[in-house]
């Protein structure tokens, strides 16, 4: 591997120049990995905040209906879809909570605690009291409790749209992570909400479904619609087109940044290698005169580019991972408003591949220049 040995010697001979190229590649790759991971994690965080604790797909009554029967067989059909990770048959109703002389509008959702936990994680998000949702027990959002001076153990009267009332006991306070949701949300057992609505057992307002990949919700909705043609099936993306546009715009800007960083790195390496090829013209000419082929002399620069690319990329990834670790550490340490960045192995490996590839592509100009070099010019030129 004479070409490799010569490449190493050329790089070592121009240590400062080599170091500058490595730093250039490292900074480029670090920016690419950091920005790419930041945007991806930001999007994940936004999507999680938006739909992490809500239904991705909902089965709702057909036209003119307010409820539908959802049997164990129906449940088995939905659960059999491998994309489905959680489902909860629920009763939904609007009500007023009587608080002293005033009343507060709320949205009551009734369901089995295990089902509601699988979608909303109520048990994990409990901040006061306890939660069982059995009998007349209910749980309310943190802001609803704070703004109205409610505490576990309080007796609460729900006033329904038809003027009827339901007596309940507040057993727990939860925090869904969103103020608007906390101000209006009330959870009860399936039976309590069903009887308030006067529905027979087995009739529900909706079935809420969560899926593994939130962005496949249109396909899942289509399939569930085919399985339950009498029901209306909705999915979260159709209701959040603004968010999707924002995510798409973020992705585009992220790609643009990454592409320009890559172009800048590539131009940097290419120009430096081209200068190196000029600096080493004499050596290359002599090697050719001594019998080294055009391809092998070109390989010297390809090896140089490869060595610079590998070292620069590894360094860049190390720097980016360190930056991500610091950023995530700050994000997890308190109320910084930041979110932790989760670098994805696939993206990091792709960035590494891109880093090495652009270094090798940058060697094309010196490779061709070297291949065309006539040793006579060097020998006679001194």
């Amino acid at each position: 591997m004479l070409e490799l040995r010569i490449a190493l010697r050329f790089l070592w001979r121009n240590k400062v120049q080599s170091l500058l190229i490595i730093l250039g590649i490292a900074i480029g790759i670090a920016v690419q990995v950091f920005v790419g991971s930041l945007i991806t994690s930001l999007q994940d965080s936004l999507v999680d905040e938006t739909v992490g604790s809500s239904a991705h797909v909902s089965l709702e009554p057909g036209d003119g209906q307010t409820a539908f029967a959802f049997t164990a067989e129906n449940r088995a059909t939905v659960s059999a879809d491998p994309r489905v990770t959680a489902l909860a048959p629920v009763q939904s109703l609007s009500a007023l909570v009587a608080v002293g002389e005033t009343s507060v509008p709320v949205a009551v959702k009734g369901g089995e605690l295990t089902d509601l936990d699988s979608i909303y994680g109520l048990s994990e998000k409990l901040v006061d009291g306890e939660i069982s949702l059995t009998g007349d027990r209910i749980a309310v959002g943190k802001e609803l409790a704070e703004q109205n001076g409610l505490a576990p153990g309080d007796a609460l009267r729900l006033v329904l749209a038809d003027g009827s009332t339901v007596e309940t006991v507040l057993e727990g306070v939860f925090d869904l992570g969103a103020q608007a949701a906390n101000e209006r949300s009330v959870f009860s057992g399936l039976e309590l909400a069903g009887s308030a609505l006067g529905r027979p057992a087995g009739q529900v307002s909706a079935v809420e479904v969560q899926i593994a990949d939130v962005f496949t919700s249109p396909e899942v909705a289509t399939d569930l619609g085919a399985a339950f043609p009498q029901l209306a099936v909705t999915e979260w993306q159709a209701k959040n087109s603004d968010l999707l546009t924002a995510l798409q715009s973020q992705s585009t800007s992220s790609y643009m940044i990454q592409v320009f960083v890559i172009i800048a790195v590539m131009l940097g390496i290419a120009s430096t290698l081209a200068i190196s090829a000029v600096q080493k013209t004499r050596q290359i000419g002599i090697l050719k005169a001594l019998g080294m082929s055009d391809a092998k002399t070109g390989l010297v620069f390809l090896y140089q580019a490869g060595i610079l690319g590998v070292i620069g990329t590894v360094l860049g990834i190390a720097v980016s991972l360190a930056l991500i670790a610091v950023f995530s550490s700050v994000a997890r340490s308190g109320d910084s408003g930041l979110f932790p960045i989760e670098p994805r192995l696939g993206f990091v490996l792709l960035s590494a591949g891109i880093g090495i590839a652009i270094a090798l592509i940058s060697a094309i100009i010196p490779f061709r220049k070297t291949a065309r070099l006539d040793p006579i010019q060097v020998i006679q030129g001194g």
Partner: protein, 236 residues
């Protein structure tokens, strides 16, 4: 070399050689002389497979080298030819010993460690023979001009070439080092049987070779045995 013509340029053509023919015998020690621009360096470039003739045939060691591909010509150069240039052209990135080993590496040192050891030993023998064994581990930049040219001669000898081509080998040296280089050439020729073709404008050097070919305006004007010039010997 048979009826060789070499033209340069595309629109305005210049003939550097015009139908040159001559034959170099095995183990000859000859010089090619001529004025600047006479075509002598072109002749050496053609003999060294660094260039191709516009017309005519160049045969080396029984091979019509005009029929070889660029890659084959490079391999032929490495295996059969040694070069000594006016400027030493050593690679400053390598030590003196490594500079000697480069032609061997280019030729493809095959496998066994014993081969590498033997090659290294040969490099050291050559350096000792040339009187520069003591600087083997120094960088090629750290030695004197005369030492550099001797190392360049050693590099030309590494692959035991059949023909050693020297282009103004003393053109950049003082009288003492010029004499030393010529002396080495003669010793190498006598002891190793290497064929020498030395291009020079220095008639004093040429006078000491066994045969002198003079090139004038792209043609061979003289091709004689050595006593035809009467210049003083370069050696004291």
């Amino acid at each position: 070399m048979s009826d060789v013509t070499k033209e340069y340029g595309t629109t305005v053509k210049t003939k550097a050689l015009r139908g040159v023919s001559f034959r170099v015998e095995n183990k000859e020690f000859l010089s090619i002389i001529g004025q600047s621009g006479s075509g002598k360096s072109t002749l050496l470039n053609l003999l060294g497979l660094l260039d191709r003739p516009t017309e005519g045939t160049v045969s080396l060691l029984g091979t019509d080298v005009g029929a070889l591909s660029k890659k084959e010509r490079a391999a032929f150069r490495n295996k059969h030819l040694g070069f000594v240039f006016q400027f030493h052209h050593l690679l400053p990135e390598f030590s003196v010993r490594e500079n000697l080993l480069i032609p061997t590496w280019i030729g493809g040192l095959k496998g066994a460690a014993s081969t590498a050891t033997q090659t290294r030993k040969r490099a050291e023998e050559i350096l000792d023979f040339l009187g520069v064994g003591q600087v083997a581990d120094k960088s090629a930049e750290q030695i004197s001009g005369g030492q550099k040219q001797r190392v360049a001669i050693g590099r030309a000898l590494m692959n035991s070439p059949d023909i050693l081509l020297a282009d103004e080998p003393t053109g950049n040296l003082d009288t003492e080092n010029s004499a030393l280089v010529y002396d080495l050439f003669r010793r190498i020729h006598d002891e190793m049987g290497t064929t020498f073709v030395i291009v020079t404008h220095d008639r004093a050097i040429a006078q000491q070779t066994d045969r002198i070919i003079e090139v004038t305006d792209g043609l061979i004007s003289e091709d004689v045995k050595n006593e035809y010039l009467d210049a003083p010997a370069i050696r004291p």
